[in-house]
């Protein structure tokens, strides 16, 4: 017990969410007779949830800044149909379709950011309007019909790392990616330790660090193994690579850059931030715009996976993304939350969904369970805070700031 405390830095409950995730996986692995942790299932878990997790990345920034975005599902659907039509009717090649979609997302975001930041209408209202507006535009453009997308575009939602090099019985690129991730983590940890020693800050015992590294690397290695041994033709999905890259980039932006600090500052106390020289309106504008760009990307990934863009794409996504962010420890009042926490929160929901489906539980019960989990996770966090203990997430944040762990396996 003591050892565990040392490895994870203090109270075990601090890591509640990660443990919950691991426990959930183990539970379903046993209950489903071992088909949860098969290459096929893990791959489809990623494929089927990457777009929600991408939304959660944008949403956590919006929520940290003290806003909310209800329009993400509709924006995703709007961008999806616009891109599908551009490729079908205007003959855009796939890469241009993606660029067009991101630009369109930026445009939508600028529109919403304008109303929130410049005019000062609460984001709840602006995006509620956007939810209707962009859903309507989707159905108008698509004439309420589905529009198919070409095969090579489908790769961003349903493609995999290709097979390259000698036949090792594994997907070679996936193996490479896993090893790179592991080396990066080990290297990062050592560098940080060195810096701490140089600053004269407290340093943990060697064995603590080694054990933690072994655990993290072990998990990564196992994930690599799963992804590398899927059915031939499948491996680590392209959407997973996009997600991993976004987690790294946004994790870094939120915790280590000036703009990231400004987002937290505006969410924590807008007046204080403004009187410290932070341009709060610019921050509001940027987080709203960024959210819509990511929503556009999520929409395209979903369309690619579905092979067509439909009139009901993205219905209810905003709620999934918001739930992931709050399970991941963000505060409704703003100023608190992390990218990594939200991803963990999103994965908890995804694993729950997947596991219950594997068990053949209907979607009625699945929704009931998901609702209870959301309530329980946030209640646990609130209880912990009222007890004067640091929030789980606060500590998750701290530890993940130190360990920008790539999602890539």
């Amino acid at each position: 017990m003591n050892a565990l405390k040392k490895i994870f830095g203090g109270d075990i409950r601090q890591f509640g969410m990660i443990f919950a995730l691991v426990a959930l996986i183990v539970f379903f692995q046993i209950m489903t007779g071992g088909i949860t942790l098969t290459p096929e299932n893990v791959i489809s878990l990623f494929n089927g949830n990457s777009y929600i997790l991408i939304l959660a990345i944008g949403m956590v920034l919006v929520i940290i800044a003290g806003h909310i975005d209800l329009s993400v599902g509709s924006v995703a659907a709007f961008v999806g149909i616009a891109v599908a039509l551009a490729m079908r009717d205007w003959g855009f090649p796939s890469w241009m379709g993606v660029v067009y979609g991101l630009l369109l997302g930026a445009l939508v975001g600028a529109w919403q950011g304008f109303w929130v930041a410049k005019v000062g209408i609460p984001a709840f209202i602006v995006t509620l309007a956007g939810m209707l507006l962009f859903r309507g535009l989707n159905q108008l453009l698509g004439k309420s019909n589905s529009v198919p997308v070409p095969g090579d575009f489908q790769n961003i939602g349903a493609g995999y790392l290709p097979e390259i090099g000698p036949d090792t019985g594994y997907n070679n690129l996936t193996l490479l990616l896993g090893i790179v991730a592991i080396v990066a983590i080990v290297w990062g940890e050592l560098r940080r330790r060195k810096a701490s020693i140089a600053l004269g800050a407290e340093v943990e015992e060697t064995w603590v660090m080694v054990t933690r590294l072994v655990l993290i690397c072990g998990a990564l290695l196992y994930a690599t193994y799963l992804f590398a041994t899927g059915r031939p033709g499948t491996s680590f999905p392209i959407s997973g690579i996009i997600l991993a890259a976004l987690v790294l980039v946004y994790g870094f932006i939120s915790s280590r850059t000036v703009i990231g600090r400004h987002v937290y500052a505006v969410g924590g106390n807008k007046h204080a931030a403004e009187l410290s020289g932070v341009q709060a309106k610019r921050v509001d504008f940027l987080v709203m715009m960024n959210m819509s760009i990511l929503a556009g990307l999520a929409g395209m990934i979903f369309v690619a996976r579905s092979t067509a863009s439909g009139p009901f794409d993205g219905v209810g996504w905003e709620l999934d993304a918001i739930a992931a962010v709050f399970i991941g420890g963000a505060a409704v009042s703003g100023g608190v939350g992390t990218v990594m926490g939200s991803i963990v929160g999103g994965l908890v929901m995804a694993v729950l969904n997947n596991g219950l489906q594997l068990l053949g539980v209907g979607s009625d019960w699945t929704q009931i369970f998901k609702g209870l989990v959301l309530l329980a996770a946030v209640a646990f966090d609130v209880y912990n805070k009222s007890q004067g203990k640091p929030s789980i997430i606060g500590l998750l944040l701290k530890n993940f700031q130190k360990t920008p762990e790539p999602q890539a396996a």
Partner: protein, 369 residues
């Protein structure tokens, strides 16, 4: 343990090596092992059969769930029947879960027939046979069979019933009518509408029928998501805008849920109830027909459809090729899907007693009168 850098790298390399040595790489079983459509081989009698149904929006789907569960279990299979109340993405994930669990046949009642390509390809790659149930799956070659009622015929029957009903009330035209269609993302909706219009269009052209609102095209007549509230709202608007003095004689409604919503709207507006068609033989609508409100419905007995779908599964299990009766009508954009079509039956107050004679739910209701 002092040289962390080396230790770390060594650990990673060693672990990878261990993986390689144990030789537990992927099994080269090959994906094209058992061809789906040919179904020559068959499979174990207690295999898992997945049934992915859309949202629980009408009584028929709820009934289908029970029938599939009972029927498949009765035949010795393991059944996994799921509703996708969360929308397309929910259904996609349910289908992949069925594949993961090793389903041999997946029966799909699609929410949006064009958005399941990736998942059905996965199913195909994993060696499962895909049967499209009630709604055709489009733009993929990973669908093996289609089982449904003849939907064009349904439309024709509805169109004819509308004409007959109005004629019975008022011997000669012109008649004022309004048109309703189903949800545009359901491939059947257009087929119903086209079937009905094949009967009604000539009458519109010769002036017998007059669509007062002017909303004659499929796009104008759609009811998003097959939702009653949408149909009711549209009817409210049409009545308020066009029927201040004019009388509404008939409404083409694609199904019972919408038919009842339309009747509710007309009643609320204080107008006499026009001739309204329907489909699905829902309990409430059958009662409504007996009470003289809704004019007609279509009996597409869900029991027979499910029965036939299960029959197909049993044929596949024993290695036989399932029976089909149409191999050219249903082109899904990539291939012509072999189909088995069941004939629909029109039901009005005149034949309501006989039409449901054998039905355990509707039978007693109609006989009790």
């Amino acid at each position: 343990m002092r040289m962390f850098g080396k230790a770390g790298k060594a650990a990673a390399v060693a672990a990878i090596a261990a993986l390689a040595l144990t030789g537990c790489g992927r099994a080269e079983t090959g994906s094209a092992a058992s061809g789906g459509a040919s179904g020559a081989t068959g499979f174990a009698k207690d295999s898992l059969i997945g049934v992915a149904l859309p949202q629980k929006t009408s009584e028929n789907w709820v009934l289908a769930e029970k029938l599939f569960n009972d029927g498949l279990s009765g035949a010795g299979f393991k059944a996994d029947v799921q509703f996708a109340n969360g929308g397309v993405s929910d259904q996609q994930n349910q289908i992949t879960s069925m594949i993961t669990k090793g389903a041999k046949v997946i029966v799909v009642g699609a929410i949006d027939g064009s958005q399941l390509g990736t998942q059905l390809k996965q199913a195909k790659d994993a060696g499962a046979v895909v049967i499209a149930y009630d709604r055709l799956v489009k733009n993929t070659n990973a669908v093996d069979y289609y089982v449904a009622y003849d939907n064009f015929k349904v439309g024709e029957l509805q169109g004819q019933a509308l004409l007959d009903g109005m004629k019975a009330k008022k011997p000669s035209g012109p008649y004022n009518v309004e048109l309703f269609a189903g949800s545009p993302d359901d491939a059947n909706a257009k087929v119903f509408f086209d079937g009905a219009m094949s009967v009604l269009q000539p009458k519109i052209d010769d002036g017998t029928l007059k669509v007062v609102s002017g909303q004659k095209t499929f796009e104008q007549a759609v009811t998003q998501g097959w939702k009653a509230e949408n149909a009711q709202k549209r009817m409210d608007t049409i009545l308020a805008g066009n029927y201040g003095s004019a009388t509404l004689d008939g409404v083409l409604s694609p199904n019972d849920t919408l038919a009842r919503a339309i009747i509710t709207s007309v009643k609320a507006a204080g107008k006499p109830i026009p001739v309204v068609t329907g489909q699905d033989s829902e309990v409430e609508s059958v009662k409504s027909i007996m009470a003289g409100e809704q004019y007609s419905t279509i009996n597409k007995d869900t029991r027979k459809l499910v029965e036939h779908a299960i029959q197909m599964v049993q044929d596949l299990q024993s290695g036989k090729t399932p029976e089909i009766n149409d191999d050219k009508s249903y082109n899904n954009g990539v291939k012509v899907v072999p189909a088995f079509l069941l004939p629909p039956v029109i039901v009005t107050k005149a034949n309501v007693g006989t039409a449901y004679a054998g039905d355990p739910v509707l039978g007693p209701i109609t006989q009790g009168k």
